[in-house]
C-alpha cells in the first residue's frame, strides 16, 4: 500500500533524525563536565537526554513496520513556493529591519510571504503589505510606542 509505505519511510527518517540529534547532544554534552550522580556537572543532564533520544530514535525506526495506520495525507507534494517565500520573508524582515528600518521590513515580510500563496497576485500582495504597514504604524508605533527606527540607512 502506498500510504503505509510512505509512513514507514517517514518513521525511518524520523528515527534517524532523532538518533543523530541524540548523538549530537551526547558529543557536545561530553565536553562539559559530567560529574557523578551525587555531584552532577553541567554535562550530565544533556548527555542522559542524548542517550534517551538515541534509544527513542532507534525504537521509532525499529517499530516503523508495526502499529501504523495508513494515512491519507501522504500524497501531498511538498509546497516549495510557499516554504521558500515564508522563509525568505522572515530573513528579509531581519536583514531589512537591521539595515533599512521598520517600515521597509514590515512591507517586505508581508509582501514576500503573501507571494507564497498561489492565489495572490502581485497587486494583492502589494495592497496587503501596504495595509499591514499602515496598521503597524497605528498599532505598534503610535499605539504601543515600539523601540524600532522607522527608517534608517546602513548599520543601525
Amino acid at each position: 500500500m502506498h500510504g503505509a509505505g510512505g509512513s514507514r519511510r517517514k518513521d525511518w527518517i524520523g528515527g534517524a533524525l532523532m538518533v543523530l540529534l541524540g548523538i549530537g547532544a551526547i558529543a557536545i554534552g561530553r565536553t562539559y563536565q559530567i560529574g557523578t550522580l551525587s555531584h552532577m556537572g553541567p554535562g550530565f543532564f544533556p548527555v542522559s537526554l542524548g542517550c534517551i533520544l538515541v534509544i527513542m530514535g532507534a525504537a521509532i525506526a525499529a517499530t516503523a513496520n508495526l502499529a501504523h495506520e495508513p494515512s491519507e495525507e501522504e500524497t501531498l507534494p511538498p509546497e516549495w513556493r510557499g516554504w521558500i517565500c515564508i522563509i525568505v520573508s522572515l530573513i528579509a524582515f531581519v536583514v531589512i529591519g537591521h539595515y533599512g528600518g521598520l517600515v521597509p521590513a514590515t512591507f517586505a515580510i508581508t509582501f514576500i510571504s503573501a507571494l507564497g500563496d498561489r492565489q495572490n497576485t502581485l497587486l494583492n500582495a502589494f495592497l496587503l503589505a501596504a495595509g499591514v504597514v499602515v496598521m503597524c504604524l497605528l498599532v505598534f508605533v503610535w499605539g504601543l510606542g515600539i523601540q524600532f527606527p522607522l527608517f534608517q540607512w546602513g548599520e543601525g
Partner: protein, 518 residues
C-alpha cells in the same frame, strides 16, 4: 474549609472586578475569540502572539488576559468548526462531525447556542472544582521535596508525551527534544554555557515566545500554505436562531453533564491533551446512544458533549498548573512560562503568596465566561463574516505580528531568527508525523526537572533508589510505570491486531485527519 474557600473567592471577585483587570480580561476574551474564529489559528498561536504584550503588564492582568485568550479562542474555534467544517484547533475536529451536518440542515444557530450553553455550564463546573480542590492539593503539595517534585514532573512529562494523539515513542522523543532545548544557555549551578554555539544571545536561554511562535505559528503556516481550501459560508446566523428549543435543551442536557465530567476527570490527569478528551467524550455519547446511527449526521449530543468536555478540562487543567507547577498540556506550559517570566514561581506557595493572582484568576474565569456569552450574542454576525477572511490574506499579516512580537520581547532581531529555525524544525517534524506540542512541555519543565533531579541526588548521595523510598514519590513512580506498561500493552495488541487485519482484510478509512497539535 468551604467557608474559607468562599471567602477567598469573594476576595477574588474583588480583584477581578478592578477596572484595570476587568479591561484586560475583556481584551483577552475578545482577542482570543477573534483569533479563534480565524481559520488555522488556535489557542497556542493566539497566546504566543500576545505573550510579548504582557511583559509591560502587572502579573495579575497579564495572566487574566492570557487565560481569557485561551478560553476565548476555544469559543471562537467552535464557530468555525460548526459553520464551516473547519477545525481551527484540533480539539474541535470532533465538533465538526455533527456540528457541520447541523449547519447544512439549517440548524447551525442552534448548534452554536447549545455549544455556548454547554461551554458555560462546563466551565462553571470546572471553576467550582478548582475552587475546592486546589486548597486540598496545596496541603499535600507542601510536603513535596525535590524527590517528589522530580517524580511528579516525570509523570507529567511521560503522560504528556504518551497520552496525546500519535505514536507514544515519538511523543517521548519530542519531550526529550524539548528538555534539551530547555538546557540551552548558562547552567545555573556551574555557569557553564551549554549548546550556545558561541552565540552570546543564547547565553540567557532560548526565548519562550520564539519557540512557541516558531512551532505553532510559522510551522503551521509552512504546513498550511496553499493547502487550506477556502470554503465560503453563506450561512447567516442571527441571535434569534441561536436559542435552542426546549426539546433540544432536554436532548443536550445529559450529554452536557457527561462531557463535563469527562473533561473534569481528564483535566485532573496531567498530560492528557484536549483533543483526546473531546474524542473520548464523543465516543462515550455514541456508545450509550440508543441509535448511534444519528451520529455524524447532526446529532446535537455530538456537539454538546465534546464542547462541554474541553471547557471543563480547560478550567480543571489550571489546578496542577497553578498549585503544583506541572502544566497539563502545551497551552498550560505556555501560561506557566508566562508566569515564570513575570517572576512568579507556580507551586504550592503560589496560592498563599500570590492570593490576589490565584483567586483573581478563578473569579475572572467566571467573569470572562459571562463576558463571552454576552459578547457572542451581538458579535456572532461579525464572527461569521470573519470566517470569510481567506487564509492567503491572513497568514502574511500574522507572520508580521509574529516577527514584531518576537522582536519586542528583547528589542532584538536575533529572536526572529530563532523563530525561523524553530519554524522550519517544527514543519519538518510535522511532516514526519511527530507531535510537536510535547516540545513546549519539555522546554518549560526542563530547567525545573534538571534542578530537582540534581538536588534530590545530591541529598541522597547519588542513590537513584531515593525516588522509590519516599512514599509520595513511590506513588508517582508507580503511576508512571503503569502508564508505560499500559502503552506497551496497547501498542503490542495493536500490532498483533494489525498483522491479522493485514492478512486479507481492508483497512477502515481514517475518520478525520487533523494536524498533530494538541
Amino acid at each position: 474549609m468551604i467557608w474559607q474557600a468562599l471567602q477567598d473567592l469573594w476576595f477574588g471577585f474583588g480583584v477581578a472586578f478592578q477596572p484595570h483587570n476587568l479591561w484586560w480580561s475583556f481584551f483577552g476574551v475578545l482577542v482570543g475569540n477573534l483569533i479563534g474564529v480565524l481559520p488555522g489559528m488556535g489557542a497556542l498561536t493566539a497566546i504566543s502572539m500576545l505573550l510579548p504584550l504582557t511583559y509591560t503588564l502587572q502579573p495579575v492582568p497579564a495572566i487574566l488576559m492570557l487565560a481569557g485568550i485561551f478560553y476565548g479562542s476555544q469559543y471562537g474555534g467552535a464557530i468555525g468548526a460548526i459553520l464551516l467544517n473547519m477545525p481551527s484547533h484540533p480539539p474541535h475536529a470532533v465538533t465538526c462531525l455533527d456540528g457541520y451536518p447541523l449547519t447544512k440542515q439549517g440548524k447551525g444557530g442552534t448548534a452554536l447556542g447549545i455549544t455556548m450553553i454547554a461551554s458555560f455550564f462546563a466551565a462553571s463546573f470546572g471553576i467550582l472544582v478548582m475552587v475546592f480542590a486546589s486548597p486540598l492539593l496545596v496541603q499535600i503539595a507542601f510536603k513535596f521535596g525535590p524527590t517528589e517534585i522530580f517524580s511528579i514532573m516525570l509523570l507529567g512529562l511521560i503522560a504528556g508525551s504518551t497520552m496525546s494523539r500519535g505514536s507514544p515513542l515519538k511523543g517521548v522523543a519530542m519531550t526529550t527534544i524539548g528538555l534539551l532545548i530547555g538546557t540551552v544557555g548558562t547552567d545555573v549551578n556551574s555557569g557553564t554555557q551549554r549548546f550556545t554555539f558561541g552565540l552570546t544571545e543564547l547565553a540567557d536561554k532560548v526565548e519562550l515566545v520564539a519557540l512557541a511562535m516558531g512551532l505553532f505559528g510559522v510551522a503551521d503556516f509552512l504546513e498550511n500554505v496553499n493547502r487550506i481550501k477556502f470554503v465560503g459560508s453563506e450561512t447567516k446566523v442571527r441571535f434569534r436562531d441561536m436559542r435552542p428549543t426546549k426539546a433540544e435543551m432536554k436532548q443536550a442536557f445529559w450529554p452536557m453533564v457527561r462531557g463535563t465530567l469527562v473533561g473534569t476527570l481528564f483535566g485532573a490527569m496531567p498530560g492528557t491533551g484536549p483533543t483526546i478528551t473531546t474524542f473520548i467524550a464523543y465516543a462515550i455519547e455514541r456508545k450509550i446512544a440508543k441509535d448511534p446511527d444519528r451520529f455524524g449526521k447532526g446529532a446535537i449530543e455530538g456537539v454538546a458533549s465534546p464542547e462541554a468536555s474541553t471547557h471543563s478540562k480547560t478550567q480543571v487543567d489550571f489546578i496542577p498548573t497553578m498549585s503544583l507547577g506541572i502544566p497539563g498540556d502545551a497551552v498550560m506550559a505556555l501560561l506557566l512560562g508566562a508566569l515564570l517570566i513575570q517572576g512568579i514561581q507556580p507551586g504550592p506557595q503560589l496560592i498563599t503568596e500570590h492570593a490576589d493572582l490565584f483567586w483573581g484568576l478563578i473569579a475572572s474565569f467566571w467573569v470572562g465566561n459571562v463576558l463571552l456569552m454576552i459578547l457572542n450574542v451581538p458579535m456572532i454576525g461579525v464572527w461569521v463574516k470573519l470566517l470569510a477572511v481567506p487564509f492567503r490574506y491572513m497568514f502574511p499579516a500574522a507572520l508580521f505580528f509574529i516577527a514584531i512580537g518576537v522582536y519586542s520581547t528583547n528589542n532584538s532581531l536575533f529572536e526572529v531568527y530563532e523563530v525561523l529555525v524553530f519554524g522550519i524544525f517544527g514543519a519538518i517534524l510535522m511532516a514526519l508525523e511527530f507531535p510537536i506540542a510535547p516540545i513546549l512541555l519539555g522546554y518549560v519543565l526542563g530547567p525545573l526537572v534538571e534542578e530537582n533531579f540534581r538536588r534530590a541526588l545530591l541529598l541522597s548521595n547519588g542513590d537513584l533508589l531515593v525516588f522509590f523510598e519516599k512514599p509520595i514519590s513511590i506513588g508517582f513512580m508507580c503511576v508512571t510505570g503503569l502508564l508505560i506498561a499500559g502503552q506497551l500493552f496497547f501498542a503490542i495488541r495493536a500490532a498483533i491486531r494489525k498483522r491479522s487485519v493485514a492478512q486479507g482484510e481492508v483497512h477502515p478509512p481514517a475518520l478525520h485527519s487533523v494536524p498533530d497539535v494538541e
